[in-house]
């Protein structure tokens, strides 16, 4: 429910649009001028490229170290960490863009132009991932709502009775169903019907409503697959050969780096957040000889490990907060199953303590999701913007040939 104002991001556009006009009028001129400056610009280029590599490396080292320090609010795959990851992407992308546009004369010409437009094509594929992730965040929000019902049922009451627990339990079961993978869904609904039949005369009668907490659908077509999309982004992505590096004044390295960042970030998003047909088996070839290679590889390994852990194998997203929702709802379910009425004082204390924990999880999610969604949108907008800009320049470069 983010009341986001995107005026900020759109305000960035006119400045580029304006440049189109001034450019058009003395376009032949500026192209020539750029050619003449070619040699003098090359020195700067090297500096800029180095700075870019350093930036990427710093960002990934940073991501690695927060992932390793377990107690920070930015631990691996937490909402905080994912936001940091997106931040890293935005910064790298911005720096990359600066490199491109500060060295237009080299960049938007053969042979670099093809590499750059290749990057733009890959980044367009990432847009669908961003949209899917947005759906996924909405999904988490639905789970959060169910958790809030649990909290509402058991919180802030002087006396807890069976009624409140039944209410909590219903929400917990809906939550459990909601968090199932698509494939396990049907079998479990049947089970829910059985287990929830008692004490609630209406539940057995009306089967249809069981699916209601699940009816949130994806905004993409049924056949869309996050795994396939990731594969498409990573398709034919290989470190440039030495001669390519020379022929492009080193820009090929920057393009490869940005491609890798794009792929990794999208992959990590898919790993963390529910989306249609998740799959993490994407071919990654991260060469170690890049300064960012090692932290990226290590993060990749850590996330893969995480996905293979027994308790996380079949989850719909590796996001830490999803794990917390699961843990919380499991604990609460056990509790609701085991309580006897009237509650003993001891049990009462325990329930209140659990509800307290649950409230904290709820708060963290409530505070984290909106900014996360805004950031995913920002990534989307930035990708579009820099691609638009790039296409403009690519078009014009050809145009003056």
């Amino acid at each position: 429910m983010p009341a986001t104002d995107y005026q900020g991001s759109t305000a960035g556009f006119p400045s580029f649009g304006r440049s189109v006009f001034s450019f058009q009028r003395d376009q032949v001129h500026s192209m020539d001028a750029a050619n003449n400056n070619h040699d003098s610009g090359a020195g700067n280029l090297e500096v800029d490229l180095d700075a870019f590599q350093r930036q990427v490396a710093n960002r990934f080292h940073d991501l690695w170290s927060s992932a390793s320090a377990s107690s920070t609010p930015e631990g691996l795959l937490s909402v905080g960490w994912v936001r940091k990851l997106l931040d890293a992407f935005l910064c790298c992308q911005e720096e990359f863009r600066a490199v491109l546009f500060n060295h237009k004369a080299v960049v938007f010409r053969h042979p670099v132009d093809r590499m750059v437009s290749d990057y733009f094509e890959r980044s367009v594929k990432a847009l669908d991932v961003c949209n899917a992730i947005r759906d996924g965040i909405e999904q988490i929000r639905q789970w959060h709502k169910l958790l809030e019902i649990v909290r509402c049922a058991l919180d802030n009451q002087r006396s807890l009775g069976e009624g409140q627990f039944r209410r909590a339990k219903k929400a917990l079961i809906d939550l459990a169903i909601g968090m199932l993978d698509e494939k396990d869904y049907n079998t479990t609904v049947a089970h829910r019907n059985r287990s929830f039949g008692r004490n609630n005369p209406s539940a057995g009668r009306d089967h249809r409503h069981l699916g209601h907490f699940r009816s949130l659908s994806w905004s993409v077509s049924r056949t869309w697959s996050a795994a396939r999309q990731l594969q498409a982004i990573g398709n034919n992505l290989a470190a440039p050969r030495a001669n390519e590096v020379v022929a492009t004044n080193g820009i090929a390295l920057a393009v490869f780096t940005m491609n890798s960042v794009l792929l990794f970030v999208m992959w990590a998003l898919v790993a963390a957040i529910p989306c249609q047909d998740r799959g993490l088996q994407v071919h990654f070839s991260i060469p170690r000889n890049f300064s960012w290679g090692l932290p990226m590889l290590s993060l990749h390994e850590r996330i893969m490990e995480e996905s293979k852990r027994r308790d996380r194998k079949n989850v719909c997203g590796l996001l830490l907060e999803i794990h917390q929702i699961e843990k919380c709802s499991r604990v609460m379910s056990e509790l609701t199953d085991s309580v006897q009425f009237p509650l003993t004082e001891e049990k009462d204390v325990e329930v209140r303590q659990r509800v307290n924990e649950l409230s904290q999880v709820c708060e963290a999610i409530k505070d984290g999701l909106d900014p996360l969604e805004r950031q995913v949108r920002e990534v989307f907008h930035r990708i579009v913007r820099s691609r638009t800009e790039g296409l403009d320049y690519l078009g014009r470069a050809n145009h003056s040939e």
Binding site: R134, S159, N200, H212, H399
Partner: protein, 636 residues
């Protein structure tokens, strides 16, 4: 019940006195205040029980709850839907009201053991009642929709929305209803032209029932459940409506890979769907939501957002995908349609999505609308690239109209039919600072158009170099220049480029005409010029020689230039006249001179091949084109 109510009040007053009064005297004072305040709190009723349990009040509470248990459990276990019978439903609601009131009134005293135990029972009862009511709520939502479905099939459900939103041929509509067997009854109704309709998706009575339930659920702190059921049902309805509008869920990549023709169809459907959604469906949902959750603003706003979010994002994602897609110039017109649709729907976005939860949807719409503007500018950029990169493949025979001229001019004319929109699009990108005074003389769009014309002209200039004959080169420029001016003059383009531009380009055409005359006729005219040595003795021979030369040149020109093309009839006529005027007087005087020479004059018939009429006739034969293929036909 009245007596129960009084007992309750008394118990509350006693409880307050007991809690606030630190000693008996203070409690007594408090009770005194109560008794002064209202006769019902008389000292006798109150004071005797201070400081001790009140079996009478508790007994009343017990009794109330017992009664409520009896009543409510009878409904909770009912096999039939309760809301089919209004007597049942209203007494169920009454029981719930009493339960809610009881819980509310006694909660301050929950610390008391007996009261606490009663409250637990009450809460238990509440939960059962709420679960049942939630089911009834869902049932009403679903049944309400169905009954309308039914009334639709009978054809005359006036305000109930007998719509198919489909202005296309009926075959398709019929085809669809046959596909999904059960829904065969979906009427393919009259097409919608007027969007000023509100659908009542549920009958008014049902809406009232829903409102009554919602009120209770919110009061019992079951608002989240209520809103959730509500939005899941309505969301399903909206999704169903969208699929009836035959709108697909497409990823950006799918849109990019789609064949343009298919995408055009999809855009057509999208435009219809967007209008129906923003002008009919969403406002109707808003109204329904506001009625069901009347007086519960926050629940209403949240529920409405949950209902519309997915569909709105689906709509916007498609527009976004179109904006991000290819910049091929042929796409301009459809993208303009999408841009205009979103622009025209902005007031609807504003009014429907104005609350805090929906604001982000409105902002998204604005962002994507702007992005479509960028896409349009991108298309013009691509057009520029295509024009300036268009290679000179081979000469157009006879110096006629080049296809690029025709393409670009007709394209721009068509584009300028959306002049106002384009002006808006280009104004967005222009710097707001310069030329406030002479705004109309050079809008951003005029600058853009002038720039494209310049690109076209310089491209044509390059293409003209392919002709070896400079006269033919001029004819080519004249033809294309004339075409450009004509297409500009009688359209919006003329208004954009301005009279000055037209004047300048008319002058250019004349210049090309002069160039043509010079390079093609100067040699001939040179022959006809009287030379000063005409008194010389060999004058007859020289004139004979000249006559021969003239005939030769003239025939050559006529031969080649009869194959040339002036596509514009008027220009062709004008050109012939001016050539005739140019040639005939010197020729006639030349012939006169010849006739004065006896050697030639004696044998006029044999020596002078062309009379004035012949010359004129031959000139009128010029520019006929080769078999009328390239430029012979009148082009439009």
């Amino acid at each position: 019940m009245a007596e129960n109510g009084e007992e309750k009040w008394l118990a509350v007053a006693r409880h307050i006195a007991k809690t606030l009064g630190r000693n008996d005297t203070m409690a007594d004072d408090i009770l005194q205040i109560f008794s002064n305040f209202d006769g019902r709190f008389s000292r006798e009723k109150l004071s005797e029980k201070v400081g001790e349990e009140d079996p009478r009040a508790y007994a009343a509470l017990e009794q109330t709850i017992k009664a409520l248990e009896r009543q409510i459990s009878q409904y909770v276990t009912a096999d039939q839907p309760i809301w089919v019978d209004s007597a049942d439903s209203s007494s169920f609601l009454d029981a719930i009201d009493e339960l809610i009131a009881t819980v509310r009134d006694w909660t301050p005293m929950a610390g008391d053991k007996t009261v606490g135990a009663c409250l637990i029972r009450a809460e238990d009862l509440m939960q059962q009642a709420m679960f049942r009511v939630e089911d009834e709520f869902r049932l009403l939502m679903e049944r309400g929709g169905e009954s309308l479905e039914l009334s639709r099939t009978y054809g005359n459900g006036e305000s109930t929305g007998n719509l198919s939103f489909d202005s296309e041929d009926e075959d398709e509509g019929v085809g669809i209803s046959c596909d999904n067997g059960e829904d065969q009854q979906i009427p393919t109704a009259r097409p919608i032209t007027d969007y000023d309709i509100v659908i009542d998706a549920l009958p008014s009575g049902t809406i009232n029932d829903l409102h009554e339930i919602a009120k209770r659920m919110v009061a019992a702190r079951f608002g989240k459940e209520c809103s959730h059921v509500y939005s899941s049902c309505r969301r399903e309805f909206l999704e169903e409506s969208f699929s009836r509008l035959r709108l697909q869920k497409l990823s950006i990549e799918e849109v990019q890979k789609m064949a343009w023709q298919d995408l055009e169809d999809e855009i057509e459907r999208w435009i219809k769907a967007a209008n129906v959604a923003l002008r009919i469906l969403f406002p109707s949902e808003r109204r329904l939501c506001d009625r069901v959750f009347f007086g519960l603003a926050s629940a209403a706003d949240l529920s409405f957002m949950e209902v519309c979010r997915g569909s709105t994002i689906q709509l916007l994602n498609f527009a976004d995908a179109v904006a991000i897609g290819s910049r091929s110039p042929e796409r301009l017109f459809k993208i303009l349609d999408v841009f205009e649709t979103l622009r025209d729907l902005m007031p609807e976005f504003e009014s429907v999505f104005s609350d805090q939860y929906c604001l982000f949807l409105r902002n998204e719409a604005i962002t994507i609308w702007k992005r479509l503007g960028e896409a349009i500018r991108g298309i013009f950029m691509e057009l520029e690239n295509l024009i300036s990169r268009d290679p000179a493949k081979g000469p157009v025979p006879g110096g006629g109209l080049h296809p690029i001229t025709r393409y670009v001019m007709n394209y721009l004319r068509a584009a300028c039919r959306s002049r106002q929109t384009l002006e808006q699009v280009f104004e967005e990108s222009a710097s707001p600072l310069p030329s406030k005074d002479d705004r109309d003389s050079s809008s951003s769009l005029s600058v853009q158009m002038a720039w494209i014309m310049e690109l076209l002209e310089s491209n044509l200039e390059a293409k003209s170099k392919i002709y070896k004959d400079p006269a033919l080169c001029s004819v080519f420029m004249m033809n294309n220049g004339q075409y450009i001016v004509q297409k500009v003059k009688d359209s919006e383009l003329g208004l954009l480029l301005g009279e000055e531009w037209v004047r300048k380009h008319n002058a250019k055409v004349r210049q090309h005409l002069m160039n043509y005359q010079r390079s093609s006729w100067n040699k001939v005219l040179g022959v006809l010029k009287p030379d000063n040595s005409s008194l010389a003795p060999n004058v007859a021979a020289r004139l004979k020689e000249k006559l021969k030369l003239f005939n030769q040149y003239f025939e050559e020109i006529c031969k080649s230039q009869s194959m040339w093309v002036i596509f514009d009839e008027q220009l062709r006529e004008q050109l012939r006249i001016s050539v005739t005027k140019l040639l005939l007087p010197p020729y006639e005087s030349f012939v006169g001179r010849c006739q004065n020479v006896p050697e030639i004059g004696r044998n006029v018939e044999r020596n002078i091949k062309y009379g004035s009429e012949d010359i004129e006739a031959r000139i009128n034969n010029l520019f006929r084109g080769s078999g009328g293929s390239a430029g012979g036909r009148k082009s439009r």
